[in-house]
Symmetry: C2
Subunit: 144 residues, 2 copies
DNA sequence: GCCATATTGTTGATATATCAACGGTAAACC
DNA sequence: GGTTTACCGTTGATATATCAACAATATGGC
């Protein structure tokens, strides 16, 4: 009858914890490999890398961020010269692409990312992974 | 052989998305109910409420936050007079408790929280919930 | 008891999240 | 074609995340 559970027994608390553990683990691996980047900056680079052509709004939607956050993260990536911003046909928007340095960076980062993913799911069977995906998607569908 | 998947196919991306959807949905429900609080502030209040006696470090560990974040969140909750900070036996630390207003606030918030949890898991069977918990715990164990 | 070391909490600096307001541009409408 | 409306990105304000440095206090070894 929907009691007032202790925090540790709440499913959503476990999701929050899992997310934080993944992020912290990833950040430590990046840093110790000498890759001076945050997890959020990696997410932005990855999505640009996945896309032929992408604007800031599309990017924001794809990785669940606000337009304002994207502006600021891009400022840092531009400083690091990993990304270029070019005016597109629609002169309100920009087209984002990785520089050569950006692509090289992502190749190096992939070595780390690959290992994080592997280690994270090492104790899950294929079936468990599928079920996990499906259950998470159901939660999203219920709340979105 | 660990290919370079598209972001949308990565399990950890789905976990991040789920977490954000839950947080945003919760925040909207709080706001529209007139409860002027953030999800993180609620987490702090909830953990204090669950505990007989708790220090800031214990609190930080329990909800995966930094000592510095706890200090600043508590500053806001003190301003709102929802929490008290009293010197304990160890004079470096404080004992945190809810005020009467804090307890009343949490009762109101529970109406919202209960509904969020219910709606979030409405399409999951008990068994699916259990499997979800177990899989998430396995990921945590692998990376922590 | 004294000293070296560890712990608790605070503060500053930087990165990110969110909301609201704004300027510039495009699209829709008439 | 001019006006209204919608959209894209930026900026400011506030909240949170993380790291490092610091003051106050506690603890352990001697």
């Amino acid at each position: 009858m929907a009691k007032n559970q202790k925090l540790e027994d709440v499913l959503f608390y476990l999701i929050e914890k899992t997310n934080k553990v993944i992020r912290r683990y990833s950040q430590v691996r990046f840093s110790e490999a000498g890759l001076e980047i945050t997890v959020d900056q990696w997410l932005v680079l990855k999505k640009i890398s996945d896309s032929e052509r992408i604007t800031q709004i599309e990017l924001a939607n794809a990785i669940f961020k606000d337009r304002a956050s994207i502006t600021r993260i891009l400022d840092l990536l531009l400083e690091k010269k990993l990304v270029t911003k070019e005016a597109g046909a629609d002169r309100r928007a920009y087209e984002l692409t990785l520089t050569a340095a950006g692509e090289k960076f992502m190749e190096q980062a992939f070595m780390i990312v690959k290992n994080v993913r592997k280690k994270g799911i090492e104790s899950l069977t294929e079936k468990e992974q599928d079920q996990l995906r499906q259950s998470l998607q159901k939660i999203i569908n219920s709340l979105e």
